[in-house]
Symmetry: C2
Subunit: 425 residues, 2 copies
C-alpha cells in the first residue's frame, strides 16, 4: 500500500512561469465545472436505486461507510516498525475534509498493543506527593463536577519524522497522518489534583497507562493544572479501544505520546522521572551530539491534503487546494499557499471553526491550466509564529532528529495531475 | 428494546420540599466521589490487559467501538411505522455527550429505504426557471469554488411527536432521538443557482432525492440563496449511505425532511409544488380543523439526556445533569434546569462550542440527597425565544399535531435513581 522513493529535489527556478498562474488562480469567481443538461444519460435515465426499495432504517444499528469508500482506511507502513504491537497506523488525510477526524480513522500508535479494558474494573488513582491519595471508578469520574467539551488536535511527535532526511513517503497519509482532531468530553485534571491536595513540593506529575507497555510520561505540574483533561469520550461517544478506552489523558497542544491512553494513575513528584519513553525516545538529537529534551509543544504546521500523491487532480480548470493547519501554541490565524515553490504566496480561506490547539481547514480555489505546480502551505498562529521551511529547521536542528519536524511540505503536481513528494532547493 | 406506558401526570406540589435541594445542588464546589486509595484491589493488582501484548495497530483499518459499548446503537420502535423502509431509527442520546454525533449513531429516517448509489454514476442537475440548465458529476461538485465547513443540527419535524398526547415513550432516545449534529463539508447551493442563472420569476426551488421515494420538498428561493449547502461529507468523511451518500442538501435550522438525501436535482419555479410529502405530511392540524403549513423552522428546544429513563442515577451525592439544546433560529444563549418541576430554576453551564443552528451541550452539577426529582430543561436563543411548556404549546396548537413539538420535557427521578417520562400539572 505504500511506496518508498529516492529523494527528489526540484529546482524552484523551473517554476518561474507559474507566477502568473498563482495570481490568476487565486482570484475570486473562477468558473464552475459543469456540463449543460442535455444529453447526459445519467441524469435522464432512472437509476436502479430509484426503482426499488432500499434497505430498512436499522440495516446497521451502528452505521458503517459506503462500500464505495472501502479504501478510506488507516494504513501501516510495515517496514517502519518491528511489530504491529509497537507500531503506528496513519490517518487517511488525503480523503478527509473539514476539521473533525471520524473516530474510526484516527491514527493509532501503540507501544504494547491495544489494551481491551473492562470499564467496570478500571480504576484511576491520584497519589504521590498529595495530602490524600484517591482511587476513582469510571462511575466516580463521570459524577465529578466541572465536565467540559473541547476540540483538540493530537499529533505524534514523530509525525513527518522520516522527512528530516528528505522526501521519502509518497502521500500525506504517511508524511502527516499521525494526527487527528476530535471533541473530547472529560473533567479537568486539576479537579482531581485539587481533590487529593498537591503538597507544596509537588512540581511534576507522572501519567501511566494500563496497557502492556505501562506507558509513562512526566508532565510539569503547571501544565497538569492548566488545561489537561481526564477524558472518557471522543466525538460524542465512548473513547475507542485503540484511543485508550475507557480513559485517556488530554494534554492540549503537546506531543501525542504524553496523552496517556488507558490512564490508570497520576503520581505527583518533585522532579521528572526520566522513564524509558522520555529518554530513549522523544528527545531531539542535535548535530553536535547534544539532545534537546522537554520539547513538548507541537509548533505550528500545515499540509496540503488535496491535491497530494494519493489525491491527484482529475482535470484542468477549476480546482480546490485543500489542507489543514494546527498549532500547539494557540489558534491558526492565517495560512498562505504557493503554487510555485515559494515565489508567490496567496492567503487561503480558513473555513469552519478555528479553535485554539485544534485542526483548522483551509482552501484555495484555483483555475489550473495544466502546468506543473510546486504546492506548499505555510501556517501562522496567534503568537506570531510562522511555520519554517525544512532548510530553516535543519540549519538549527541538524538532520539526526526523528521528532518535531514541522517544516513546509512540497508536492510536485505534474501536468497529468499526479502529485509527488519532493523538496525544493 | 422499547417500553410503552400509560400517561403519567405528576402533581408539582409534591416537590415543594425540593426547593432547597435545587439551590444547594447547583452551588459550586460540590465534593467529588472517590475512595481513599487503600485498599482497592482493582488498583493494587495488575490486570490481565497489562500483563500481555494487546492487538496490533491495524486490528481494524476502520475502527469500531469497544465490545463493552455494544448497547449504544440506533434503535427502532417497530410499532410506530408500517415498514422498515419507511421508518425511523433513533439516536441513543442518553449514552452520548459533547456536541458531535458520531456518524454511525445519527438517527435514520427513510421514506423508501436506503439508496445505495455509485458515486461515479450520480448526477446533480439545476434546471427549471434558469438561464442555462447544468448537470454536475461528483467530481465537478468537488471542484466548485467556495467550499465550506459548518456544524448544524438536523431534527426531524416529528421528533417528540408522540408526546403531543402525553408522556408515551420511556427514554430520550425515543422522545428526542430524531436529531443529530455533525460538521458538513460542501458548497453553498447559491453557487450552483448563480452558475445556472435564476430567472426573475423564480421564487421557489424543488429538491429531489434519487431514492425509491424520490423524496421532494419545496424550499423558498430566499432560503436556498441564504445558507443552504450541497454537501458530500459529514464529520470529515464521505456521507454515510443512510444519510444520502454521495450528496445531500443541508437546510440549516429547518425541519429534517427538507434536507434531501441522495440529492439529484434542484428545480427552480415560481410557486411551491405541493408534493405528497408537504401536504400529506409535515403540516400541523389545529383543533379547529385548519392546518399550519410552511412551518419549516425548528424552534428552540432542549432535553436532559442524563439522568433519563435509559440512564438512571447510580448513587447519591455528586451527580451531573447533562443535556442538549438547539434552535433553528440562531444560537443557544442560556439553558435553565429545574429539579422540582419548574418551581426553582438554575442556569446551567454551556460547555463546548455554542454555534448557530447547532446542538449545544449543557451541564448542571448537583449534590443529590436521594429525594425524588422532577427534572426539566428550558432553552433560550439569541432571538429572545424561550422554549415553552407543553401546556403552553397545546393552548395554541391543540393536540392533533404530530410535528413541531418543542415543549419542555419532564423526567421523574425516583429515590432509587430510576427515571420515568412524566408530565407535571
Amino acid at each position: 500500500m505504500t511506496q518508498t522513493k529516492p529523494e527528489t529535489r526540484v529546482d524552484r527556478r523551473r517554476f518561474l512561469s507559474l507566477a502568473g498562474l498563482a495570481g490568476a488562480g487565486a482570484a475570486a469567481g473562477v468558473r464552475p465545472a459543469a456540463a449543460e443538461a442535455t444529453p447526459d444519460p445519467d441524469i435522464v435515465n432512472i437509476p436502479e436505486w430509484t426503482q426499488a426499495l432500499g434497505a430498512g432504517v436499522n440495516n446497521h444499528p451502528y452505521g458503517i461507510p459506503s462500500p464505495f469508500e472501502k479504501d478510506v482506511v488507516r494504513r501501516e507502513v510495515t517496514w517502519l516498525t518491528a511489530s504491529s504491537e509497537s507500531s503506528v497506523s496513519f490517518t487517511p488525510l488525503y480523503a478527509l475534509d473539514g476539521i473533525i477526524t471520524p473516530n474510526g480513522l484516527c491514527f493509532v500508535r501503540h507501544h504494547g498493543g491495544e489494551a481491551e479494558i473492562d470499564p467496570a474494573r478500571h480504576r484511576f488513582m491520584i497519589h504521590g506527593m498529595v495530602d490524600k491519595p484517591l482511587v476513582f471508578t469510571m462511575e466516580d469520574i463521570k459524577r465529578m463536577p466541572g465536565r467540559t467539551n473541547r476540540v483538540y488536535f493530537l499529533e505524534c511527535a514523530a509525525n513527518s519524522g522520516m522527512e528530516w532526511r528528505g522526501a521519502q513517503l509518497n502521500g500525506c497519509q504517511y508524511t502527516h497522518g499521525m494526527i487527528h482532531n476530535v471533541v473530547y468530553t472529560g473533567v479537568p485534571l486539576r479537579a482531581f489534583l485539587e481533590a487529593a491536595g498537591v503538597k507544596p513540593q509537588g512540581k511534576w506529575v507522572l501519567a501511566e497507562g494500563a496497557d502492556a507497555s505501562a506507558m509513562t510520561r512526566s508532565i510539569p505540574l503547571e501544565k497538569a493544572m492548566d488545561d489537561c483533561l481526564v477524558a472518557w469520550a471522543m466525538n460524542g461517544e465512548a473513547l475507542r479501544p485503540e484511543q485508550g478506552y475507557p480513559l485517556r489523558l488530554v494534554v492540549p497542544g503537546w506531543e501525542g505520546n504524553m496523552w496517556i491512553k488507558w490512564l490508570r494513575r497520576i503520581e505527583v513528584g518533585d522532579q521528572p522521572w526520566g522513564q524509558r519513553e522520555e529518554t530513549s525516545k522523544y528527545t531531539d538529537l542535535l548535530a553536535d551530539g547534544r539532545s534537546r529534551r522537554f520539547t513538548f509543544i507541537m509548533d505550528a504546521k500545515s499540509v496540503v491534503t488535496s491535491p497530494s500523491p494519493q489525491a491527484p487532480l482529475r482535470a484542468k480548470g477549476p480546482n480546490v487546494v485543500s489542507g489543514i493547519a494546527w498549532s500547539g501554541r494557540g489558534t491558526i490565524t492565517r495560512v498562505d499557499v504557493t503554487l510555485d515553490g515559494g515565489r508567490n504566496w496567496t492567503t487561503a480561506r480558513i473555513e469552519g471553526p478555528a479553535l485554539p490547539r485544534a485542526m483548522t481547514r483551509f482552501y484555495l480555489d484555483v483555475d489550473w491550466n495544466g502546468e506543473e505546480m510546486l504546492l506548499q502551505s505555510r501556517a501562522m498562529d496567534d503568537t506570531g509564529y510562522v511555520q519554517p521551511t525544512k532548510a530553516e529547521l535543519r540549519a538549527v536542528r541538524g538532520e539526526n532528529s526523528i521528532y518535531h519536524n514541522n517544516g513546509i511540505q512540497t508536492w510536485l503536481v505534474r501536468s497529468n495531475g499526479e502529485a509527488e513528494n519532493v523538496e525544493v532547493s
